[in-house]
Symmetry: C2
Subunit: 305 residues, 2 copies
């Protein structure tokens, strides 16, 4: 399969490298890593074994990348104002586009530009970060739940999942992509939000009874927001919270991505993780008051800026 | 009038100094400032004119202070576990006790120990801080709204207000003390809370539309909590919010006391300003969700502690 990777951060580089290693024709849109990768290839470090790709197709613009079968989007969502223009040259043929970006609103953006039937989305559970140019560090996990933006299980989605599986990525197709996205938000909103805002790790949020209770209250809000979206089956509130809390205990001293972004002075993906969910819930009559407050506080320019 | 000042922080020192200057027999319970004040008296700096009291009655314990007519409490509320024992020797005679502490729950604590009919409270609008030992800086304002814990306007409250007035403090008696306390919380909860949590001044909270909206939403919660308490007249929500917002604009670049406490690594008065109000509202069926979240986040041990 000819695959374009648009947004070659840690996620794009990691999945792209695995797909190329498994035999796919992968073309990376690169910015920071362009020179390093053209010169020296791409190195992946991973608990599953390090490897290096000597020859990697790196491009500075999507116009140069040629025709592909699939566009995989890994762009940070705060750059979504560039997303459609970045993808447009690649979507001239019959390519489908799979966004693995965080949160909500990404599929809608692509569907508005290219048509809903060309869009898939995937929820990626990946721990990875970029090292020096030309190097990506896989820290753990990496499985993907993907599906058609329009819903249902398609041959196309199954074929894409098979490519990921061949590349060593556990990949599940889901008939209700947006339900899977909301499920992930049940964890991301409280923990990315509270940890980023307070600067403490997940274990500290759990150890302090009042913030632990707020994490649960935030989950309740997100579940109510999800269950107002009209999915085929509601999320089971208590089971969902219990599972999320158990997972979080298992993570130990964990820094969610939004917390890392904030601590390192980078932009945070606030719109897709907080803003769009708040608006989608409100549109269905569910006011997620605590989530809205977290969003407002995270979006406030920090002291001294 | 013989007056004991218990809790001689900036508030206690300032009001005590004014009362002594106006002729009252004022006795200060001192800790940090004891030696300096015994040696060199008490200096007040103020936009209304600086002054110095050469001879000040300072004591290390309340047992040494003798019999008084009025105990004025300025203790920080996080030390309330010591409040009753501190006051007990002074309450052996017929003294009344007036708490000028922040927030809710202080009168109840004193009433539980000494009887409700001996307790008054006052809401102080004072900008002041302590300088080096023996010096207090009055920054601005200073008026007081005081009343009987049990309600109604008493001769005693009127007489106490007259002493403050004689000392140069604008002082109003109010028939519903707790309503006045809730009114002040309509400002303190959003702005002390949001500024302390985020580390930005009040003008920055207002300048960012989402946090400005959160400040209003917090006010709405506090007003709903207040109006569930069964006061003779409800707070008018929109008028109250409009007035508070106008006042806040007038403050310019302002650091609320809780923000200063947090930034300087001191304890914050979270129980009386956030915790007791949340519980009093919940007891009347009003869940102040945003206030509870602010409280939980402020109460979370900071990173590295």
């Amino acid at each position: 399969m000819r695959i374009a990777i648009v947004g070659s951060g840690a996620l794009g580089l990691y999945y792209g490298a695995l797909l190329q290693r498994a035999g796919d024709d992968v073309r990376f849109l690169l910015r920071r890593d362009l020179d390093a990768i053209r010169r020296g290839g791409l190195k992946v470090t991973s608990p599953n074994g390090d490897f290096r790709l000597e020859r990697v197709q790196g491009f500075a613009t999507t116009a140069e990348m040629g025709e592909v079968d699939l566009v995989v989007v890994g762009l940070k969502t705060f750059d979504n104002d560039r997303l459609v223009e970045l993808c447009r040259p690649l979507m001239k043929g019959n390519a489908a586009v799979l966004t693995l970006q965080n949160g909500l609103g990404n599929e809608e953006l692509l569907a508005g530009a290219f048509g809903a039937d060309r869009v898939l989305g995937g929820v990626a559970f990946l721990g990875a970060n970029r090292g020096e140019p030309g190097t990506v560090h896989h820290l753990g996990k990496g499985h993907i739940r993907l599906g058609e933006f329009r819903g249902g299980i398609s041959e196309r989605a199954t074929a894409i999942a098979a490519r990921f599986a061949a590349a060593g990525v556990r990949c599940e197709t889901v008939p209700e992509l947006l339900r899977a996205r909301w499920e992930k938000l049940v964890w991301n909103i409280p923990f990315n939000g509270l940890c980023a805002l307070t600067g403490v790790t997940t274990d500290r949020i759990l150890a302090h009874a009042p913030t632990r209770a707020e994490a649960v209250a935030l989950m309740h809000e997100v579940i109510a927001g999800a269950n107002a979206q009209g999915f085929s089956a509601p999320l089971d509130r208590d089971a969902c919270v219990a599972e999320m809390m158990e997972q979080t205990v298992g993570l130990g001293t964990y820094r969610p991505s939004t917390m890392i972004d904030r601590q390192e002075g980078r932009r945070m993906e606030l719109g897709s993780i907080f803003g769009v969910p708040v608006e989608k819930a409100a549109a269905r009559g569910v006011e997620m008051a605590r989530v809205r407050m977290l969003w407002a506080l995270l979006d406030l320019p920090a002291p001294g800026r």
